[in-house]
């Protein structure tokens, strides 16, 4: 799971959970996988992000080095920043671990990089 995905993901599937965001990350295995840099895409994606959540998520798994806590107004002209954002959003992969719902504490396992957001039939009754 990439941090860009984490930034969009909720546990609203659970009954009674209102926002289910952000999920806490608990990672037991993290891999760095190189991804081609596309400044146009990163520039388009940044306004869609909850930047604070991204920073905290990166920080919680020990990968916030050099990542600014806030976005500058003219971020699109700052290539170094875009590359940093690219790295954090697309190249850090949580391979094993779990996500935790901020409201209910329900855990969702991540295995082989794929989060499992399924509830049990008991939970959807």
């Amino acid at each position: 799971m990439k941090l860009i995905t984490h930034n969009m993901l909720t546990s609203k599937c659970i009954k009674g959970v209102l926002t289910g965001f952000p999920l806490a990350i608990n990672a037991t295995d993290i891999k760095i996988k190189e991804v081609d840099f596309n400044s146009e895409f990163i520039t388009r994606v940044i306004p869609k992000l909850d930047w604070e959540v991204l920073w905290c998520a990166a920080n919680s798994i020990g990968h916030s080095d050099g990542l600014p806590k806030t976005i500058e107004p003219k971020f699109e002209e700052d290539e170094e920043f875009l590359k940093k954002a690219h790295h954090v959003l697309l190249e850090i992969e949580v391979e094993e671990g779990h996500l935790t719902c901020p409201e209910s504490g329900r855990q969702f396992p991540i295995s082989k990089g794929i989060p499992n957001m399924l509830l049990t039939e008991a939970e959807v009754q």
């Binding site: 995905t5 991804v35 388009r44 049990t120």
Partner: protein
């Protein structure tokens, strides 16, 4: 000056021809003039476009276009075509001399002299191709047809492999192989400009793909869907019934970043039974991600998640540039969601690990209504949901006396893809192609 072109299509998936072309034209915002009203019985369109660049853009996307030719002349017969071309060499007016009629019956079609002469220079290598649609000619017969063009002032040397100029002579004998006329209905001559994306069908062929499932979408239809979704570089797309990720391949090929989800844990982990006949176990290379790597588009892979589409997953304000998907229809795989019919069902903690939840019927109308509502909420303004929708067709057969049979069509080719476009008022419109 607008230029006149002949677009030749594959006589396949004809129901999608118009949809694919309209999507591509509006994606690039290209104006088009139809010189002859398009009809699906004919594998070609005669059109005018503002520039050759427009034509190249269209061809860079269309999988249904075979090739495109700058039209120098057309006629109802070989003799008239030669007459037209010979007259073109004398046409110094700088414009076309035409006698147009909307049903395309006119035989006068004389292009300006310069159009031909630009490509006749002694420095340009050339060749002439002959294609006879729906009728076979031997090599010798074809060479004879080529020799018929000897009056053209082509000064450069002939070169069969990668020449500077490829001229194309086409005879069209209709599309019914059981009813081929003596003389062609239509003949065309012009300069080949560009091919469509037919080669991509082989490149993306499921036969050579690492990971496929029982319901992987065929390469050609996936490309058509990506075109209908007007996918472009840097887009973010979602397939909420992603399966083996076949719809990722074409979307990412055109530059989109892809997210997917599916209820089937075993599928996303490539642990379902192998789909290929004779294969016992899935190999390590089998995963959606490995497919992306196989085609050199791994950088476009975002993530896949195990998730039931009947429940919310994404942040409310997340917007996708397109949703491209092939939902279950209940024919080859059931439409289901997590649930249980029993009341007060509980699970003990020890059962939780590796528990595969039971499912209940989702119901087709319910699922499509969820899909449309989801699209209305999560699509960028003006962007599209492209999905398949099952139709049950009734077919009538007459054999001796009339017997009536009903047949449930499986799907795919027989079904219509629906391009639902998101309107300003969040009203989704499903347009049916059949």
């Amino acid at each position: 000056m607008w230029r006149r072109y002949l677009m030749w299509f594959a006589q396949e998936h004809v129901d999608f021809r118009h949809a694919e072309m309209q999507s591509i034209l509006s994606l690039f915002n290209i104006q088009i003039r139809y010189i002859e009203k398009p009809c699906i019985q004919k594998p070609y369109w005669i059109v005018e476009l503002p520039s050759e660049d427009c034509l190249r853009k269209i061809a860079s996307r269309s999988v249904l276009i075979k090739n495109c030719i700058e039209l120098w002349s057309r006629a109802r017969s070989e003799i008239q075509l030669h007459k037209n071309l010979q007259n073109s060499l004398k046409n110094t007016s700088g414009t076309w001399i035409l006698q147009e009629s909307m049903n395309g019956t006119s035989d006068l079609h004389v292009c300006p002299k310069e159009m031909i002469e630009t490509y006749c220079s002694s420095k340009k290598t050339f060749k002439v191709d002959v294609e006879t649609f729906c009728k076979h000619y031997t090599m010798t017969e074809k060479v004879k047809k080529i020799e018929g063009f000897s009056y053209l002032p082509l000064e450069g040397p002939v070169q069969l492999k990668n020449p500077d100029v490829t001229l194309s002579y086409i005879e069209f004998y209709g599309t019914d192989p059981n009813n081929v006329p003596e003389e062609p209905y239509d003949v065309f001559f012009g300069r080949w400009v560009v091919d469509g994306q037919r080669d991509l069908i082989q490149v993306h062929s499921l036969k050579k793909r690492h990971f496929i499932g029982n319901t992987s979408m065929d390469a050609q239809l996936s490309i058509i869907m990506a075109n209908q979704a007007q996918v472009k570089s840097g887009d973010v797309i979602l397939d909420p019934f992603v399966g083996s990720g076949s719809l990722f391949v074409s979307a990412a090929h055109f530059g989109a970043y892809v997210w997917g989800s599916d209820i089937d844990f075993m599928m996303l982990h490539a642990r379902t039974r192998p789909t290929r006949v004779g294969q016992k176990v899935r190999t390590k290379e089998e995963s959606i991600r490995a497919n992306m790597k196989q085609y050199g588009i791994e950088s476009k892979y975002l993530d896949v998640l195990v998730s039931d589409f009947s429940l919310p997953l994404w942040r409310d304000d997340l917007k996708f540039d397109a949703i491209i998907t092939d939902p279950p229809y209940g024919v080859r795989e059931p439409t289901e969601k997590i649930g249980i019919e029993r009341d007060n069902y509980t699970l003990t903690d020890e059962h939780l690990v590796n528990h595969i939840p039971s499912k209940v019927e989702y119901g087709l109308p319910h699922m499509y209504s969820d899909l449309l509502n989801f699209a209305a909420k999560h699509l960028e303004m003006g962007r599209r949901l492209v999905c398949w929708y099952p139709l049950v067709r009734e077919k009538y057969f007459s054999m001796g006396e009339i017997t009536r049979r009903e047949r449930k069509e499986k799907r795919a080719e027989e079904m219509a893809a629906n391009a639902a476009r998101k309107e300003k008022e969040y009203q989704n419109r499903i347009s049916d192609n059949t």
